[in-house]
């Protein structure tokens, strides 16, 4: 294999993505009784940027007797070469075929990764459906953010890890190792695995509860991380401040899914940051979490980190800040000249509906502050098709753009100003107060986009919109059930792969698969009955349906719910673990 492979590597683009050999590579030759291959359903440069994959990879390799390797979705040129030479998809570290592992674990990032599961199965010579694989196959499982509703892809896997892998993935690997040593069959092992919290076995359809790290401050976090030899999307070290989000924007799945809200201590984070800076050689350190500016010790943390980073000539980056925390953003941008805002909706009314607690005054102050600061580039993010949206709300987007221009004229320290407006189509997602809402039709999407294209035809303003067609597919899959597994397989056979890369997205392929399987699209993308039992209801995710429904009602009345940092709003997540220790 090595010989053929080295020839292939000369012909494909960016071959460094397939060879491993990164700095800080764990010892692959240590004595081990259990080998897992961690697979990511997208390219190396995307997967290597994923903090979850990073944590689980190093966690397993740090466990005595366990080795974990990696495999990513190879680019199309590589896939073609593998197929032409009948080489199965292999791991980066030891070039082992996936089928030679004890366990193969797929991290599924979001809905548009689903066809890549099948793509990778195909390349690895894995039969698609778990029911078609006997004990001679490795245990093949999935996890990751998409496990919030695993039903569309559940039939492909022996088990689904729901929740935080530091808990369930670890226990699942340990149990499998033990069962292998005792010669226990796959079926029996899977039955025993149902006792682990956050392990869903599709063939048994067992109810389970999402696995949650109780003490995040003490939980595993790697600082001897792999440093890739080629560019990746987020090429920097990252510390994770906290999980969950207190803001409760009603469209936001991550907010509710990652609750309860748990923080790491400033001291712990500073230690991680120092170790990462020293062990990686990266010249940038980013602070990550859903809403970094809400971290209770942010100022203290940034002050301490600045000293350490300056000493090492390392840049600090603070992503995902909210509009109402401009101060922190300025902090981040010291010396920078661009500003990113995500008001999500153009009017106060609609922002109240979605519970984006950003007032007109916040918008005004933030923009004014930015202009006085000399910001040249303003990026504005909005959603279109939100529940109750009218043309007035779209006009509100245009008004905000005009406000930026006005304030630039009045207060702008920089002569130049570039505004980029981006809109994405609202996708109703499970485990949000909007999980019952309808997605607007393609026709409506087009009309709204055309309205904005027309109105935003202004000097120094660029309007970009996220594809309407892929939003429909994402929406179908997000609230999908087990009937959709055959749609995913057929879509793959119709040529759908790398759906999240707009240049590869193939809407016709998807629609043909939907039709061939007699699926009524509207059933999934339309409004859902409030008493409907959803496919994902079998998993207890903490946040209760009752709470989500009450939030939906409040949205209709334009009533906002405050950030729960000061006072608990009773969402239900705290029964899985304590918020704000």
């Amino acid at each position: 294999m090595e010989d053929i492979l080295s020839d292939i590597l000369l012909r494909v683009e960016k071959p460094a993505r397939y060879v491993g050999g990164e700095y800080n590579l764990p010892n692959m030759d240590k004595p081990c009784s259990h080998r897992t291959c961690l697979c990511f359903c997208d390219k190396y440069e995307v997967g290597m940027s994923n903090i979850g994959v990073r944590i689980l990879y190093h966690m397993l390799n740090d466990m005595e007797g366990f080795v974990c390797e990696r495999s990513f979705a190879p680019d199309l040129d590589m896939a073609k070469e593998l197929q032409e030479h009948n080489l199965p998809l292999f791991s980066l570290e030891t070039k082992r075929p996936l089928l030679d592992f004890d366990m193969v674990a797929f991290s599924v990032g979001f809905e548009l990764h689903f066809t890549n599961i099948i793509y990778m199965f195909d390349l690895a010579h894995i039969p698609y459906y778990a029911a078609d694989r006997d004990d001679s196959y490795p245990v093949i499982i999935a996890g990751g953010p998409c496990a919030v509703n695993p039903m569309p892809f559940a039939d492909f896997f022996d088990a689904i890890m729901i929740g935080e892998g530091e808990i369930n993935f670890k226990q699942f690997n340990e149990l499998h190792d033990k069962c292998m040593k005792e010669g226990i069959s796959k079926q029996e092992f899977l039955k025993r695995a149902t006792t682990i919290e956050g392990v869903y076995i599709p063939s048994l359809n067992n109810p389970t509860k999402r696995a949650v790290v109780q003490d995040l401050d003490k939980s595993y976090f790697p600082t001897d991380i792999l440093v890739p030899n080629c560019d990746i999307v987020h090429d920097r070290s990252t510390i994770e401040l906290f999980r969950g989000c207190a803001n409760g924007c009603r469209f936001c799945q991550a907010c509710f899914y990652y609750r309860p809200i748990r923080e790491r201590k400033v001291g712990t984070l500073v230690n991680y940051a120092k170790a990462l800076m020293d062990n990686t050689g990266y010249d940038e350190l980013s602070l990550s979490s859903l809403s970094t500016s809400d971290y209770s010790g942010l100022k203290d943390l940034v002050d301490q980190l600045k000293v350490e980073a300056d000493e090492r000539k390392i840049k600090l980056a603070l992503p995902s800040l909210r509009l109402d925390s401009f101060e922190a953003e300025i902090y981040q941008e010291m010396g920078g000249s661009s500003l990113t805002f995500a008001p999500e909706a153009g009017t106060q009314r609609l922002r109240n509906v979605i519970n984006k607690n950003v007032s007109e005054q916040d918008v005004y102050n933030s923009i004014k502050g930015a202009m006085e600061y000399g910001v040249k580039n303003v990026k504005l993010y909005f959603m279109i098709g939100l529940p109750t949206e009218t043309m007035e709300d779209l006009q509100g987007i245009v008004d905000i753009v005009n406000l930026v221009k006005d304030l630039h004229r009045q207060y702008g320290k920089s002569k130049m100003l570039n505004i980029i407006v981006s809109t994405a189509v609202f996708i109703p997602k499970p485990l949000t107060p909007f999980q019952w809402e309808r997605q607007i039709s393609m026709q409506e999407m087009k009309e709204k986009q055309e309205f904005l294209i027309e109105k935003l035809r202004m000097k120094n303003v660029k309007y970009s919109w996220h594809g309407a067609e892929s939003s429909v597919v994402e929406s179908l899959l997000a609230r999908g059930d087990r009937k959709l597994s055959s749609v995913i397989v057929d879509a793959y056979h119709n040529g759908c792969v790398f759906d999240s890369w707009s240049e590869h997205f193939n809407f016709e392929g998807w629609m043909k698969a939907v039709q061939d399987n007699n699926i009524n699209l509207e059933e999934y993308t339309g409004e859902q009955a409030e008493d409907k039992v959803f496919a994902w209801d079998i998993v207890d995710n903490g946040v209760t349906k009752k709470y989500l429904l009450s939030e939906r009602y409040k949205s209709r009345q334009g009533i906002t719910t405050p950030n729960c940092m000061g006072k608990c709003n009773g969402c239900g997540a705290s029964k899985l673990g304590r918020c704000f220790e």
Partner: protein, 214 residues
């Protein structure tokens, strides 16, 4: 300044020149080498490399120059080797008062090419006054006279050892090997090539960078 001779072998052979530079610079940070930075608007590390290798070609003789302070050559080598991925391990390092500008003074490289077939025939190129290869320039296929860029060819066992122009006047070893495969029917490919020396002019003689600097 310190210059280190290092390898680029194994998986690192598939890492582009630009990415390799990044890997090396990160290694300096990990090794806590006190590197000097440029003074401009966006300061960058003052480091220097030599002519890029084509992707897939390996090397025993790459050079990396670093403007740094507070570290001896031997200490540098020790820290460098602790901080690079396996395929970039350093062989030696020297401290110099002045940047020798290797990218400019290196004029040739010696390569060893694993090959099979009638290898002796290849040495016949040396007897000819012209040798033209097909290559690509700005995406267009062109023909290029390269005889002047070939300084030596000999056969040692199952390897062709050749010395080709490097630097300002540069002959890409992969294009040269492709031409040997086409013109002489030998079997060889890019990942069977290793750069074994980079050469500079010392009077009329070509000497290796190692001999020249040390």
């Amino acid at each position: 300044m310190i210059i280190v001779e290092h390898k680029k072998i194994g998986d690192m052979g598939y890492v582009s020149h630009k990415d390799t530079l990044k890997v090396l610079q990160r290694a300096l940070k990990r090794g806590k080498i006190n590197v000097e930075y440029s003074k401009g608007f966006v300061p960058h590390m003052l480091t220097y490399t030599t002519t890029p290798l084509p992707l897939g070609v390996q090397s025993d003789a790459e050079y990396f120059g670093v403007e740094c302070t507070g570290v001896s050559a031997s200490e540098f080598l020790e820290r460098f080797n602790r901080s690079v991925p396996a395929g970039l391990v350093g062989s030696w390092a020297v401290e110099l008062l002045k940047n020798p500008n290797l990218a400019f003074i290196v004029v040739a490289s010696e390569y060893r090419i694993k090959a099979s077939g009638n290898l002796q025939a290849v040495t016949g190129i040396l007897d000819k006054s012209s040798y033209v290869i097909d290559t690509v320039k700005k995406g267009e296929p062109i023909q290029k006279e390269i005889r002047d860029m070939i300084f030596d060819i000999r056969v040692e066992g199952e390897e062709i050892v050749c010395v080709l122009a490097t630097g300002n006047i540069n002959l890409r070893v992969d294009s040269f090997v492709d031409s040997l495969v086409t013109n002489f029917g030998i079997k060889a490919n890019r990942n069977g090539i290793i750069r074994t020396k980079q050469l500079v002019k010392d009077g009329e003689k070509l000497v290796s960078v190692g001999e020249f600097l040390r």
